[in-house]
Structures are given as structure tokens and as C-alpha cells.
Amino acid sequence: MAVLTAKDYRSEVEPTWCAGCGDFGVLNATARALAELQKDPAKVVGVSGIGCSSRLPLFLKGYNAHTLHGRAITFAIGVKVARPDLDVIVFTGDGDMFSIGSGHNPHVARRNLDITIIMMDNKVYGLTKNQISPTSRDGQYGSLTPYGNIDGHINPIMYMLTFGATYVAQTYAGNLKHMTKIIKEAISHKGLSFVNIISPCPTFNKFDSYKYYKNHLIDINEDLGHNEIDNFNKAMEMAIHWDDNYRDPNNTKAHIGVYYKVEKPTYHDRVKEVQERLGREDSIQNLINVCKPKAI
């Protein structure tokens, strides 16, 4: 097979995003990462929910599925369990994954399914035109909360660590190189990997702009020396540390880097063990015949 380039991972569909949307960067980085890994496009399944961000898989070449709002993970699990040979990547947004979809996150993570979740965190509902999301900042305007967000925000990194994800990282849509590296690592990781990508929405979220992030990014691995990435407690501390910062708008530093990475048996490893333990029955008739009165 000829060497594939990033372009070969793009579908014929043109993105409908606004000019300047961070999601363009994520799309580029994903295509690059896939190219660097030389993945077979026919065996990469991108699954998404609904949102601006969730349109992404439609712009990638592959057996992709644009599903329902908040339900990408459920569909992705079905794909992966049915076909462990496929690379399954969930593309989602902060609302899709952490609002309506928040019930599925613990369960995919605790089982350590070998799936990659890439979340485009613009801290707003873009597609429905500006409502606050669980990652929105205090006081942020939303069309349903015009008096300013009073709901408190969540920390996706802490969440996914708590839930048992085995690879947890954050990156930034304005940094193609870092993003590509992280996405590559996440896809290559055996187990549940979660990548939170800070992805500006210039249309609705004026605060979290490229300009803002220019001065506020720290690389936790390079700048803060977070290197013991297989240490859960340290990862958690780092996540809490970010959160503390986040709550103080004057002092905000946004992290990028790998918080946590550890190898653990995946769900499929355990499934395989059970399948081997129980053995195979080739005859359907035999399975029916067990319902006959047992021969004495």
C-alpha cells in the first residue's frame, strides 16, 4: 500500500464550521496523526454525537458514524466489542460528552475499553447558538442564562481520572504539533484514552480566544515537570491544581500535556479470557437440544 498522507484521511465533505473555529485544527491534527500512524482508513471508525464538534467524523475518511446527542460512546462501545480489530475514536464536544452524555463516561472508562475519546472543549454549546455547557466559566453568558453562569464548572480531566481512564491528556487546537503528538499517543494507547482539546469558538465564546490562550498555556510535562505520569495520585493532584487555577480568572493557566498513562488489561483482554474459558459450540442444534428432557 502506498504511503498515505494527511489528505488521504479527509473525506469529500467540506467542513461547515465558522471561520476560525478551533475544530479545523483538530481535524487537521487527527488526519496527520492517522497518517503518521499509517492507519488503514477502512479500519478506523470515528463516532460522534451532535454538536459543531461532532460533525468532525463526517470530514474524515472512514466508516464513521454521526450518532445522537450524547450517545457516541454507547455506539462506539458496540462497534469495538463487535469488532476489536477496528480503531474506534469518539469525537465529541463539552456539551455532548459532559452534559447529556455524562452518564456514559464512567462506564466506558471503568471497563478500560480500547477506545479513544477526543473532546473539543469550547466551553459552550456552539451548534445551538450559545448556551453554557458544564465546562463554561462562572458568569459566562448563555442564551438561557443571560444573567451569567451560576452552575459551577466541571473539570473533565479529574472526571476521567476518577472514572478510570488509562490515558488522560489535554491539548490545544492552536498547537498543531502538540495536538498531533497527543492524538497519536491516544490512538496508540491500549485502553481508554481521553484527550481534552481546548478548541476556541470565536463565534460564541469570546473569552476563550486564541489571544487569551497565547498567554495562558503551560505544558505540564515540559514546564511543570509532571513526568511520573503512571502515578495516579500525582495525576490527580495536577488535575486539581489546574482546577484551582481555573476558578480564579486572573490567575488562570491552562494546562496542556499528559496527566496520566498506565497500562492495564483492557475490556477485550478480559472478554477474550472468558470466551476461551467457556469454549465454543459449533452446532446450534446442540444448544436447542439442551431444552429436551434430559436423558436419564
Binding site: 462501545i77 458496540g78 462506564h107
Partner: protein, 636 residues
């Protein structure tokens, strides 16, 4: 005498946990071992532990489909069992045959002697505790009692007992044999038989299986080739999963216990997209939760089988009770217009074959297919001829047997997968080489799927309206073509497949006194009512469709035209099937006859109503058993 018609209903009732249900299962297996047919309707307590449980076993020399109106013999493990059945015992005096009451006399004594009831007191608990020193043998002692009293073939029961306890070792088998013998001995020493009931001599056993309803769904799905089952526990559907899990793993598939029902269906659809036959089973509340994904399956054209083991609704409703009130949500739930199909089982045996059919329709038409069953069918067991599954060299799988709705055999269908070899002219490719997953101009509306891994047909799916090559697009032309494509599949289904599900029809006369259309468990009860009406000289036409959506109007219209009146008995409030038939056919004069008390009809209720309809010349309307009897009858 072996050819004489034999038909006996034995009910065992008592506290859940006392082996009541097991006793019923033994009687059922005994019937099968003795060469007879049986159907066993179980009713579990609503509480987790304890509460009233019972098992009604009808044993017969002919295939039977309902457990009848009440019972001939009641074996009451406690006083509550007698009280619960008092209404039936009291009715004995109006009946030609006596009723027999075998009861545990340890702590209970009937207050009054009822007319035409024969009493056999046996201190079951005492015998179990004092003689056997093992309370758990109470139900086996009772079996001994029943065996001795009614000549239930000893060897058949003992074989059944052995088959069950074999795994636990010889000692346990022996202990149970002893308990059984104790029961027999007690009868011989203490009771004098005065009733007319007896089991005939055992016959050469037939090639049969005994399955519960949910087990039949599981086995049928395995035969159909299911590879992925997404489960979330809910009464009364959970045990479909219990029954399928090991088989599925042994067939290389997997059962995934999801976090909720939205996830179950999402996962099953993911597995289907990945190329596997997939299913989920739930009950009403789960169907509600799945509604959005059902609609999604409709637009993305993903094959999926959803089993709805109905329970009493609405809300949390009556989880352990029988009802058929989910037809509306299965036919009309989920937002927007999309094609789907509904099959409904009338018996346990149906469940097996219709599970195969459900997968066939789902895979052929790439639509969501509901298999509707219910809580009573779920836990009822039946003796029926063993289904035969032939796995051919060429990969074809053929299911045979005495398929109850009248087809010869079912060939397992696999979805149409795109094959470039078969598409040399590129019918399913765009000029730029893109795969046309949703080509709109096929005559049947069906287009080939492709599964991940195939480099020739890479495509994405979306729940948005889309072009033939799956890009989101909302122009009127594309929209209309895609809608027409999707619904053309149902027209094809009506043309090519509907007839197989409409064969269970009997026309006595071109101008019958009464015609009955019924579905689900109620159909199996209506069938018995029809038989009785016929015995009384009425002409009765019967139609038990297994396909409830879409509706092929002509078949119903023609059927209805051959009778003076058409009754549609069903156990829900609205008369949901009748409603759908009124909307989709030219029939106006259907008589809805409904019960919504959480229990199945008994045959007599349908029989009596039919007679009333004939006498009063009723042609249409909405009736309940209260209109016949003036009061709510509970047939527990």
C-alpha cells in the same frame, strides 16, 4: 384408552420460595416424558422474596395453547393459595366436573365445604419437617401425593427429578426420591380417591423441548445468528439475557450489560454498524428510553431487533403483570416518520421462530424490528416439537419444525453486503467513485450495506437527512427521494413477506357468526374460545396475525368480510390493534374487547362475550368483561 382425549389442569399455589414453581416445572417435564403436551403458566410474587406464587400446568393429549379457565386440581401449599382461588372453587358448583383441592393441612383447614369440591388434606409441611427433616422437600412430597392420587406416571416424574438433581449428586437424588415416595405412601395410607381425574398411561415420548418464553427468544436469536446482545435488566425481560449469555459466548458473540437502555440500543446499533447481528430486549419503560435511537435506526437504516417483553403500564406500572399495551409505542413511538416492523408472539413456541423472523426482517430491510411478547409468555413454559436447525456446508442456515404460523421453513437471512464484483457497472458508485449507501432508485428500496474494513465502500452514516452517498443535505428533492426509498422497503415487505405472517387463519364460513382477530398471548386464549364456540355450533372464523406493522389491509378486509361481526380481544385499554386496523383498513365495524386488569383473559370470557355479541347483535364498540359480567373478574 390411550386414544381418549385427555386434558387436565393442575394448579400449584403457595408462598414463593416453597418450590411451587419448581413443582409446576416437574409436572410439565413429566408430561413431556410421558408423551403428552403441556403448557405451564407461572406467576411469581411481586416481592423479591416471599409473596404468593403459583404455577398452572395444563397437560393434554393434544397441543394446547392456553391454561384454560381455571383448574381441575388445586394443590395448595398454604391457606393463602386456597383463599386466592376461592372464586374458582366456589364456581365448582355450577360446573359439570368436580374440582379437587389437595392442601397442606399442617396449619390450615378449610372453613366451609364447597359444593362439588373434593378435599384431600395432606400435612405437607409436617411430613417435610418431621419425617424428611428437610423443609425443602415439601414440593417433592406434594408431587408424590399428586402422582399417587392421579396416577401421574411415577417413572416419568422420577426421571424428571433425577434430571434436575443429578448434578448435585446421588445422595440428593435419593433424598428427593424418598420424599416423593413418602407422598405416595401417605396417600395410600390415608386417603381414598373419590375424584374422576387420572393421567393416562405414558406413551412413547415425542421429540420435544420444554422452553420458557424468554428462553425461546434467546434460542431463536441464537439460531438466527445473533452476535451481540446489549442488556439492561428489567422485569420481565431480564431473563432473555440470562438465557442467552452462555450460548452467545459459545457462538463467538458477547452480551454487554449496559448502564441503561439508551446505551443498550446505542451499543446494539454500533455492533450492527460494525457488521454483526445485534439485539436488545427490554420492557415498556426501556422502549420509552430507546425511542430516540429507534428513530435513528430508522433513518440510518441499521438492522436491529428489539424485543419488548411487555408488562403492565403506564409508568413503572405493574412490572410482574401481563398486559399488551405497548403496541402503540412500538408502532408510533420515536419522533418523525420512519419504517419499522412489528412481530408479536402468541406462544412460547412462536417466540422461538419469530425471533428468527425478526432478524430476517431486520437484516433484509435494514429497519428496526420489534418482537413483542409479554410477561406472562416470558415465564410460561411449553412443551413443543423440537425445532431443527440445519447448518449447511454453504453457510446457509435453515430452521424447520412445526412452525406454528404455518410456514414450512425459515431460511436465515444475512444482510446484503456490497460486493464490487457484483456491481461492475457501478450502480452503487457515484461518478467520483463514492459508495452510494442510500441509492434511491432500487425497486424495493433496499440498498447494499458495507462494513468496516472494506476499502471499496467507505462511508459515514448520520441521523441527518442525507444524499445517496450519505452527506447531510436537506433539499426537497433529496429529502423526498430518501423518504420514498425508506418507505418503499415497507411496501416491499408487504408484498414479499407479509403473507407468511398471515397464515394462521381459519375460515369456517363465508358468513360466520363471529370472527376473531387477536394477537399476542390473547390469541392463544382466543383460539380456545373459538374452539368452544364451534363445539356449541357457532361458525367462527379466526385470524392470528404475527405481523402487526405494517398492515396489509386487503387481508384483514377480506377476512372481516366473511363474518357478521369481528371481535378483537386484547389486553390493553385503547384496543390498540383494533385502533390500528380501523386506521389502516376500510373496516369500521370492529368490536374492541379489552381487559386491562393486569391479567390475561381466560377463554370463557371471550367465549361468553362472543355469545353476547351474537345474541345482542353487537357489531362495533368497545367492551370489557364488566360488560358481560357486571363486575371485574380477576382470573389469577
Amino acid at each position: 384408552m390411550a386414544n381418549e382425549r385427555f386434558d387436565l389442569v393442575i394448579k400449584v399455589g403457595g408462598e414463593g420460595g416453597e418450590g411451587v414453581i419448581t413443582a409446576g416445572d416437574f409436572l410439565t417435564e413429566t408430561a413431556a416424558r410421558a408423551g403428552y403436551w403441556a403448557v405451564n403458566y407461572k406467576s411469581y410474587p411481586a416481592e423479591i422474596k416471599g409473596g404468593y406464587a403459583q404455577s398452572t400446568v395444563r397437560v393434554s393429549s393434544e397441543r394446547v395453547y392456553s391454561t384454560g379457565d381455571s383448574f381441575d386440581i388445586l394443590c395448595a401449599f398454604n391457606g393463602e393459595a386456597v383463599e386466592k382461588n376461592m372464586v374458582f372453587l366456589k364456581r365448582a358448583k355450577e360446573e359439570s366436573k368436580p374440582k379437587v383441592l389437595v392442601y397442606d393441612s399442617t396449619d390450615y383447614q378449610p372453613v366451609e365445604e364447597l359444593e362439588n369440591v373434593i378435599y384431600y388434606p395432606v400435612p405437607l409441611s409436617e411430613l417435610a419437617k418431621d419425617v424428611m427433616k428437610a423443609y425443602i422437600t415439601k414440593n417433592i412430597i406434594a408431587l408424590g401425593v399428586l402422582s399417587e392420587l392421579f396416577e401421574i406416571p411415577e417413572k416419568s416424574i422420577k426421571d424428571a427429578i433425577k434430571a434436575k438433581f443429578m448434578r448435585k449428586g446421588e445422595r440428593i437424588v435419593e433424598m428427593n426420591y424418598k420424599a416423593f415416595d413418602l407422598g405416595r405412601q401417605y396417600v395410600r395410607e390415608n386417603l381414598k380417591k373419590v375424584d374422576p381425574y387420572k393421567f393416562p398411561a405414558p406413551q412413547e415420548p415425542q421429540d420435544v423441548v420444554i422452553m420458557e418464553g424468554n428462553q425461546a427468544v434467546a434460542k431463536g436469536s441464537i439460531a438466527a445468528g445473533v452476535q451481540f446482545y446489549a442488556a439492561y435488566p428489567i422485569t420481565p425481560a431480564t431473563t432473555v439475557g440470562n438465557y442467552i449469555v452462555n450460548d452467545l459466548i459459545k457462538r463467538g458473540g458477547w452480551l454487554y450489560q449496559a448502564e441503561d437502555e439508551i446505551s443498550s440500543l446505542g451499543m446494539a446499533l454500533g455492533a450492527s454498524f460494525a457488521g454483526k447481528k445485534a439485539m436488545t430486549a427490554t420492557s415498556g419503560p426501556g422502549i420509552s428510553l430507546m425511542s430516540e435511537f429507534i428513530s435513528y435506526a430508522g433513518i440510518t437504516e441499521l438492522p436491529i431487533v428489539i424485543v419488548d417483553v411487555q408488562r403492565g403500564g403506564p409508568g413503572t406500572g405493574m412490572p410482574t403483570k401481563h398486559e399488551q399495551a405497548d403496541l402503540f409505542i412500538c408502532a408510533f413511538g420515536g419522533h418523525g416518520d420512519f419504517p419499522r416492523a412489528i412481530l408479536a408472539a402468541t406462544t412460547v413456541e412462536d417466540n422461538f421462530y419469530l425471533a428468527v423472523e425478526a432478524f430476517n426482517l431486520a437484516e433484509k430491510y435494514q429497519i428496526p424490528v420489534f418482537l413483542m411478547t409479554d410477561g406472562a409468555l416470558a415465564i410460561r413454559s411449553e412443551v413443543f416439537p423440537t425445532p431443527k436447525v440445519e447448518q449447511r456446508e454453504d453457510g446457509k442456515i435453515i430452521v424447520r419444525g412445526q412452525i406454528p404460523y404455518g410456514v414450512e421453513e425459515i431460511e436465515v437471512v444475512n444482510r446484503w453486503i456490497y460486493n464490487p464484483e457484483e456491481d461492475k457497472e457501478g450502480r452503487f458508485k457515484s461518478p467520483t467513485g463514492r459508495f452510494l449507501r442510500y441509492k434511491t432508485d432500487t425497486p424495493d428500496g433496499i440498498t447494499p450495506m458495507a462494513i468496516p474494513g472494506d476499502p471499496n465502500a467507505i462511508h459515514a452514516i448520520t441521523g441527518l437527512e442525507r444524499t445517496e452517498n450519505t452527506d447531510p443535505r436537506f433539499t426537497p428533492e433529496i429529502r423526498v427521494k430518501q423518504m420514498n426509498k425508506r418507505f418503499r422497503k415497507l411496501q416491499t415487505l408487504l408484498r414479499e413477506d407479509a403473507a407468511r405472517y398471515y397464515k394462521d387463519m381459519r375460515i369456517d364460513s363465508d358468513n360466520a357468526d363471529v370472527a376473531i382477530i387477536s394477537w399476542g398471548l390473547t390469541a392463544s386464549i382466543a383460539r380456545e374460545a373459538a374452539k368452544r364456540l364451534r363445539e356449541q355450533g357457532y361458525t367462527v372464523n379466526e385470524f392470528y396475525p404475527r405481523l402487526l406493522w405494517p398492515i396489509k389491509a386487503e387481508v384483514f378486509e377480506e377476512f372481516a368480510s366473511k363474518a357478521k361481526r369481528v371481535i378483537v380481544p386484547e389486553t390493553n385499554y385503547h384496543g390498540q390493534l383494533a385502533f390500528i386496523l380501523r386506521a389502516t383498513t376500510n373496516l369500521k365495524d370492529l368490536i374492541s374487547y379489552v381487559a386491562y386488569r393486569g391479567e390475561a383473559f381466560i377463554p370463557k370470557e371471550i367465549e361468553d362475550f362472543a355469545k353476547m355479541a351474537i345474541e345482542k347483535d353487537i357489531k362495533k364498540g368497545w367492551f370489557t368483561p364488566s360488560d358481560v359480567y357486571g363486575t371485574v373478574v380477576g382470573a389469577i
